[in-house]
Amino acid sequence: VSFGGRRVEEGQSTGPPPGVAWPVLREDPGTQFQPLVRRSATMLDTLFIVVTIAFFAITIAYTAGCERL
């Protein structure tokens, strides 16, 4: 069979040859900074900071609710 472009005979290891590192994927398009996101970055930063603060404010209110339960 062929494994990563290297022909492997029956009984032979399919791991990397001695002294050769395992391959590492570098391409990860999902985490690149896309133009659409770049344009709206400031707006999104504001949104997420506001959402975070709002969440923790709700959490404090929830704490008060648990006290009154």
């Binding site: 570098r26 990860d28 999902g30 985490t31 690149q32 709206s40 975070t52 923790f56 929830y62």
Partner: protein
């Protein structure tokens, strides 16, 4: 299911059983020195502890009520989460970035900050292709230390609520977190990091290496300060990997010995906390009974998952695949079926979330076990601290049910369980199912939800259910195959998942702290012949049944349209999706 696998399983169980008692005793000394006595490490690290208090302006001699404790926890979590968000957004202008990583996009930074601050460590990114060394070492590792400390502190508050009688205060948040960091997590991580270096894990600030392979192609070898992060990743049941493929990568999990130690470490503190419970409530047999219930469920899960993976996929076998290999798709050859199944079962049961195999490649029954471990509420040892307080909530419910059956006021270790206590316990459980099932339902019918799927049909549904279960349950492992950070810039997966992690962490924890506040005020009565025994097989069976029945009643319908129907489609039909 070969003999070598059974031997490895036995060694892993022996490993964490042996350290349960010494770790439990150590935890009592760290968290409650007035009960457990002074730590020998205080002789050297005591000045550091006192310096921290002075720098923060905290008077740790003053204990807090449950409300002040909760506010301290919420404020600390919120501030550190914003700190992480900012670091990730500006990492491109900060030092220790030899690969010139750009700023993390806003939705991903929000998701990651929420994920790490809640001890979930769900990763919608590949670490080696997204994060600078500084982001890994400061923005993320900060939470790897503080989030498990907060989990253990919350559990300690509930245990103090049970153990103390006619009191008002439940401890001091800052003291609990700092003592754990100085006397537990930092020393243990230092020793473990050196062991990791010895096993071959890199620790450097070098740029990635461009290597030419024997096939003649160029590949990039990612590296960096990895060893120092592996210790706290496992010990704190964080699970967030330095590399995208987590513990399947040879730089994160290079040897069989390393794999063994990692498994033992991520269950160690969860197991030791049950001994801490027994020591604090002066009923060691109760601690072991809780441990026994968790262990029984863990062992059943491991064996079922291993059996399913060892028997493989019948459709593949029909094509002539050697049945002795089992289901090797998505598994590292060097770990094999047994080590992958044990790791997967234990990482989902304990709330760690690290993976050494692709869970999306597991058989439907194997995936059902990993999903089920999370859906019962992360109480099969669970996350550090959160597992203990989660199972204690079930103890309250179990004793309440037992009290109803025999017609007596339910009583737990001398404390009467009243209506408000049961309401708080029920609230802590209900919010988990609301956010898990609500999020799954929304994503299942929304275009943004299904757009990220790698599979159709029941496996696709399982990917969505798993994502929300893992987020709300603060596990962090993924069935994978789900793209949460699409290149079209859609933010909904990262946004909703980030929120689910926050709700899943704080909304069950706060009723637990309120419950502790109610319990600590109660006077403990002396147990008599009418008190429900919280030791022995009857209690273990009652507790286990309560956990399984509540979990089954809540999540069985969703499991039925996910892994269960997928299993029957695989074995008794020719349908594909």
């Amino acid at each position: 299911m070969d003999a070598a696998g059974w031997v490895q399983l036995a060694l892993i169980i022996a490993g964490f059983v042996v350290i349960t008692k010494p770790l439990g005793i150590y935890l009592v000394k760290v968290l409650d020195p007035d009960v457990g006595g002074r730590l020998w490490l205080e002789r050297w690290l005591g000045p550091v502890e006192r310096l921290c208090y002075r720098a923060m302006g905290v008077d740790v001699r003053k204990e807090q009520t449950w409300k002040r404790y909760t506010v301290s926890m919420v404020v600390f979590t919120g501030v550190t989460m914003v700190f992480t968000y900012v670091i990730l957004r500006i990492q491109h202008i900060l030092p220790l970035n030899p690969q010139k990583m750009g700023p993390v996009r806003p939705d991903l930074a929000f998701n990651t900050a929420a994920s790490f601050s809640t001890n979930t460590n769900w990763q919608s990114y590949g670490g080696e292709s997204t994060m600078s060394y500084l982001s890994q070492m400061v923005a993320l590792v900060l939470h790897n230390f503080t989030s498990p400390a907060i989990g253990i502190a919350t559990a300690a508050v509930l245990v103090r609520g049970i153990a103390r009688s006619s009191a008002e205060t439940v401890g001091n948040f800052w003291r609990d977190v700092i003592r754990q960091t100085i006397y537990l997590f930092l020393p243990a991580s230092l020793i473990y990091a050196v062991f990791m270096l010895f096993q071959g894990i890199p620790q450097n600030f070098l740029p990635y290496t461009a290597a030419r392979t024997v096939e003649g192609i160029t590949q990039t070898i990612a590296q960096g300060p990895i060893a120092s992060q592996m210790a706290i990743k496992m010990l704190g049941t964080n699970g967030g990997g330095y590399m995208n493929v987590n513990a399947a990568h040879p730089f994160e999990n290079p040897t069989p010995l390393c794999n063994f130690v990692q498994i033992v470490l991520f269950i160690a503190l969860c197991s030791g906390l049950t001994y801490y419970l027994g020591r604090m409530v002066k009923n060691q047999r109760h601690g072991w009974a809780v441990w026994g219930s968790m262990f029984g469920m863990l062992l059943v899960g491991i064996i079922v998952c291993w059996w399913a993976e060892a028997h493989g996929n019948p459709r593949m076998l029909a094509l002539g695949v050697d049945p002795s290999f089992g289901n090797m798709e998505g598994k590292e050859v060097r770990f094999g079926i047994a080590n992958s199944s044990i790791f997967a079962s234990m990482t989902t049961a304990t709330g760690c979330g690290a993976v050494n195999a692709m869970h999306d490649s597991f058989t439907p029954i194997g995936a059902l076990v990993t999903l089920g471990n999370i859906l019962v509420g992360e109480v099969i040892f669970g996350g550090v601290g959160s597992g203990l307080y989660g199972v204690l909530v079930f103890v309250f419910i179990a004793i309440f049910i037992a009290g109803l059956m025999v017609g007596r006021t339910p009583e737990y270790l001398g404390k009467k369980i009243q209506a408000r206590d049961v309401k708080l316990a029920a609230l802590s459980m209900l919010v988990v199912s609301i956010f898990t099932l609500g999020g799954t339902a929304w994503a299942s019918i929304a275009s943004w939800g299904t757009a990220g799927l790698n599979n159709g049909g029941p496996r696709g549904f399982s990917e969505i259910l798993y994502a929300f279960a893992s987020g709300v349950g603060n596990n962090g492992s993924a069935l994978a195959g789900l793209t949460m950070t699409p290149s079209n810039g859609n933010i909904m997966w990262n946004f909703t998942q980030g929120l689910s992690m926050l709700f899943g962490r704080l909304f069950p924890a706060i009723p637990v702290l309120a419950l502790a506040g109610a319990l600590v005020k109660k006077k403990a009565a002396v147990a008599d012949a009418g008190s429900f025994p919280v030791t022995g097989p009857t209690f273990v069976i009652l507790l286990t049944s309560t956990i399984v029945i509540v979990g089954a009643l809540t999540f069985f319908p969703s499991l039925a349209v996910g892994p269960i129907v997928e299993h029957y489609l695989m074995t008794a039909s020719s349908l594909t999706f």
